[in-house]
């Protein structure tokens, strides 16, 4: 049963990773306490504390568009597996056209996103 195998290897990997980290911490050289060493690494200049780092909302937009298009792509998978079977069953044109309509919506969405400059990074 594949699920058992997957669970087994996940548990094994976690154990392996933890063991390695533990081993590395035991074998590692002695710590030399120095408060500066444990600060965030910002290329040597003193750490700057700004209340809010402005992060572009583009990252978030990309993620939203990713969800939408990802689902549309997932919808194509069952279609792709059954396409040859449908052809053999003589329903080829029907399935092709119904997917064609879906693809048209997809293309229109992609076209709109490009046109509306939602995908522009500057």
């Amino acid at each position: 049963m594949p699920l058992g195998g997957v669970l087994f290897i996940v548990v094994f990997l976690i154990a392996f990773g933890c063991l390695m980290l533990w081993l590395a911490s035991k074998l590692g050289t002695q710590k030399i306490a120095d408060p500066v060493k444990y600060q965030s690494y910002e290329c040597g200049i003193p750490v700057q504390e700004k209340k809010d780092t402005k992060i572009s909302v583009k990252f978030y937009l990309t993620a939203i568009l990713f969800i939408i298009f990802d689902i549309e792509i997932i919808f194509m998978y069952p279609w792709a597996t059954t396409f040859k079977d449908s052809l053999a069953a003589g329903q080829g044109l029907y399935v092709l056209l119904s997917m064609g309509a879906f693809l048209l919506i997809f293309i229109f969405g992609l076209f709109w996103e490009v046109k509306s400059k939602a995908l522009e990074w500057d």
Partner: protein
């Protein structure tokens, strides 16, 4: 105890504990990571139910896409600490928990009471277990009986794409002042 039974109890326990983690942890980052755990557990439960393709879709869509969005949003907001993680007032809180407990008890009781009739349907079922090529059957059904719903979802996704972009787009970053 057969492996299947062990798997079910193991997965059920993990999933429910992770789901509790979502609502209990005060830091939203831990909430969302627990939710990832829940989603992975639900996907594994789908596998034990023989819905292999759906399990994959569950991982790709929920764990891979939707929750990445949640994590990214939380990181963009950079919510260091939450002062009011839970609703205030012990009385309202107790009432709410009682309501949830009542609902849970009612559902579980209903299932327990109807267990006999459920078992009967199970025996009368056309075919108790769907084996093998359930993905292909899924595809065929999707493109015959449920074609309209499928196309409608395409349109829905288009509308959502347009709407979400229009909502979220503004000049500047997440911390723009107004």
């Amino acid at each position: 105890m057969t492996p299947d039974v062990f798997l079910f109890w193991f997965l059920a326990l993990t999933t429910v504990l992770a789901a509790l983690g979502v609502i209990i942890s005060a830091n939203p980052i831990y909430s969302v990571l627990s939710l990832v755990m829940t989603m992975v557990g639900v996907a594994a439960i789908f596998v034990t139910l023989g819905a292999y393709f759906l399990a994959g879709v569950q991982l790709i869509v929920y764990a891979g896409a939707v929750l990445v969005l949640f994590v990214m949003v939380l990181m963009l907001f950079d919510l260091k600490h939450e002062i009011h993680a839970f609703t205030r007032g012990p009385v309202t809180g107790a009432i709410k928990i009682a309501a949830v407990g009542l609902l849970g008890g009612m559902i579980v009781g209903a299932i327990a009471l109807s267990a006999n009739s459920l078992m009967k349907t199970e025996n009368n079922g056309i075919q108790t277990v769907i084996e093998g090529d359930s993905t292909k059957a899924l595809g065929k059904l999707l493109f015959s009986q449920y074609l309209f719903g499928f196309e409608a979802l395409g349109v829905l996704l288009l509308v959502v794409a347009v709407g979400a972009v229009a909502l979220a787009r503004a000049k500047g970053g997440t911390h723009a002042q107004h």
